[in-house]
């Protein structure tokens, strides 16, 4: 009821300020933002923050329980767990950012083309997306990564392919709904070309939900990367990845549970933060998206 009642009232408050206010009014969102900022800082300044060299083996100091020198203990090769977790932020973030960029750019382009041109273009692209969606992301990424020959770069490509359907579908749906609006018709009525309509009117209006999806997807991507590296795929030893650390620690679970628990907790913290910020952004940018994303 109130929604219609308020429509005649021009909003003077700045949209940006309102979004910020909604975002920062929720504890978990602020928490998430802080964690994500800390994550970026840690990744950039890892060599200065980490107390030890994460790659340095010290066979005199293997499997040390948490103590003053090694807050989270050391692993079977005597490497400091905390330092390896700190360096692991680089792996997680890089995979997350690059894979999301790949997925978003390819997926959005496909969705844009499918939604804008409709008909058989839509049918072919969307059936292809449906086919991609039949494969579990982690399995698809596993296969692609191995076929491409392992390594971090290929994991990023693999996750990018695995996650692109979400972007394609969202973009396609957004384009279709934008096309329903009269301003799309207005563009055609004034004789604006396809490219102009697409990039001046359609694309900008698809962004709010995509920003939300990208944030949410960062969490999912990091989670998937952790799963892959848990299975032993991705970064080559001795590089540090949280998933691999959980797996390495698994065999010492009975005596040194911290080796598995600590990196796993790091994964959870980061993914949780991205999810919460994504939720917050969704509610702030466009409450109507609740339930869609």
């Amino acid at each position: 009821m109130q929604r219609t009642d308020m429509t005649e009232t021009p909003l003077h408050a700045s949209e940006f300020r309102r979004i910020m206010k909604v975002l920062f009014s929720r504890g978990v969102v602020v928490f998430g933002i802080v964690v994500i900022l800390a994550l970026f800082v840690t990744a950039i300044f890892a060599p200065w923050i980490a107390p030890y060299d994460p790659y340095k083996l010290d066979l005199n100091q293997t499997l040390v329980q948490p103590c003053k020198e090694h807050l989270l203990g050391t692993d079977a090769l005597g490497r400091d767990t905390l330092s390896r977790i700190i360096f692991g932020t680089r792996t997680s973030l890089m995979v997350g950012v690059v894979a999301v960029c790949i997925a978003a750019s390819v997926g959005m382009t496909m969705g844009l083309i499918a939604g804008y041109f409709g008909r058989w273009v839509h049918a072919i692209i969307m059936r292809f997306i449906d086919a991609l969606m039949a494969f579990p992301v982690i399995l698809l990424a596993l296969v692609i990564a191995v076929l491409l020959g392992g390594g971090l770069r290929n994991v990023m490509i693999a996750l990018g392919i695995g996650l692109l359907p979400a972007y394609a579908r969202l973009m396609c749906g957004q384009v279709l709904s934008v096309k329903e609006n009269d301003y799309f018709l207005a563009g055609r009525a004034m004789g604006a070309g396809n490219l102009r309509i697409m990039f001046r009117h359609v694309v900008p209006n698809c962004f709010p939900p995509l920003i939300v999806l990208i944030t949410m997807m960062m969490g999912l991507t990091i989670l998937a990367e952790a799963g892959l590296s848990f299975l032993g795929i991705g970064i080559e030893p001795p590089g540090a990845a949280w998933g691999a650390m959980v797996n390495d620690g698994y065999q010492y679970l009975l005596t040194h549970p911290i080796l598995s628990f600590a990196p796993g907790f790091a994964i959870m913290l980061v993914v949780f933060s991205f999810n919460m910020v994504g939720d917050g952004l969704r509610d702030a940018l466009d409450p109507r998206l609740r339930g869609v994303l």
Binding site: L11, Y183, A186, M190, G191, F207
Partner: protein, 330 residues
């Protein structure tokens, strides 16, 4: 007041038909046509306002969009400024699009929410390369803002910072930007608050007085608004025009039974008059344009229908003085 022109007619529509195919079943084969517009002929004189009135499903919006060539008509001719545009390609249409503009019903959906008001109004200038410099572009946009009664300092705001009435002014400014001679106003006020509607109606009237050669096709469902703003009025029912007349005759001497019932359905804000008015309440609902009735498609609801009405499609004929009606009983 109205400026004369060569043949005096800016638009001539001749036997326009617009059918939308309906597909069904597995292979989405065509099973029928929605006869949205089914043989419509009319003309608009330069500088006048033609009101096109009808209920939802009457095809009035489709007529407007056919003239704008947002649809490819199934058959018939549309002559705009002496040129038959009904079969032109999108490429051939493009230069003509600067000569005609559309004003939409929904002041919210018709403005791109991510663009500033200034760039919405200025977009036709860019599309048609009407401004030679940034300076000229800006001046032109500012002028357009003033013409429609908006403060040019609001150019950088986005649509949601405007009220419904102001948004509709932006829509009018955009329609005027390319110096169009024909404005197709598709229900331009029905989404606005009562107290705001008059502002837009008056704006449209003032514009026509100031820019002499401006012609309106005013599409609406509200007879009193159409009668207020139009010089002549065409009444549509189920894809056909049933009556065309000037505004005075429409109210004083309507001939078609549908026009009569439409007039009687509109209540007047005067209880003394309302007590005396005769009310004609139509039977049933407007049939689907998918399966229009045979003959005169108004016959199932018509209080005057005879058996002949079921068989023959009544032609639109002139009863004198440009008063055209399509009914054999008149």
């Amino acid at each position: 007041m109205k400026s004369p022109s060569r043949n005096g007619k800016i638009v001539e529509v001749d036997d326009l038909k617009m059918y939308f195919p309906v597909t069904r079943g597995l292979l989405r084969h065509k099973v029928a046509d929605v006869k949205a517009v089914d043989g419509v002929s009319f003309h608009i004189k330069r500088g006048e306002t033609l009101g096109l009135v009808g209920e939802s499903g009457s095809g009035k919006t489709t007529v407007g969009r056919c003239i704008m060539r947002l649809y490819q008509p199934t058959s018939g001719h549309i002559i705009f400024e002496g040129q038959d545009i009904s079969q032109l390609s999108e490429h051939q249409m493009r230069p003509l699009r600067s000569r005609m503009s559309l004003i939409f019903q929904d002041p919210y959906g018709s403005l791109d929410p991510r663009q500033s008001a200034g760039s919405i109004v200025g977009e036709p200038l860019k599309v048609f390369h009407l401004a030679n410099s940034r300076q000229e572009y800006r001046e032109r946009v500012e002028e357009l803002f003033r013409i429609v009664g908006l403060d040019p300092s609001m150019m950088d705001r986005v649509p949601h910072e405007f009220s419904g009435g102001q948004r509709q002014r932006i829509g009018v400014a955009r329609a005027l930007a390319s110096n169009a001679s024909l404005l197709i106003c598709d229900e331009p006020i029905s989404a606005l608050d009562v107290s705001i509607q008059a502002q837009i109606i008056n704006l449209l009237e003032e514009l026509q007085e100031r820019l002499k050669r401006l012609t309106y096709l005013f599409i609406a469902h509200d007879l009193s608004v159409v009668r207020h703003i139009s010089d002549r009025i065409a009444v549509m029912y189920l894809g056909r025009i049933v009556e065309v007349t000037d505004r005075k005759t429409l109210y004083e001497n309507p001939l078609h039974p549908y026009t009569k019932s439409l007039l009687s359905a509109v209540p007047v804000a005067d209880p003394f008059l309302e007590e005396k008015r005769k009310r004609i309440i139509l039977k049933g609902e407007i049939p689907s344009p998918l399966t229009p009735p045979s003959g005169c498609n108004f016959h199932p609801r018509c209080p005057m229908a005879i058996s002949k009405c079921k068989k023959e499609v009544p032609p639109l004929r002139d009863t004198g003085g440009g008063h055209e009606v399509s009914c054999i009983r008149v």
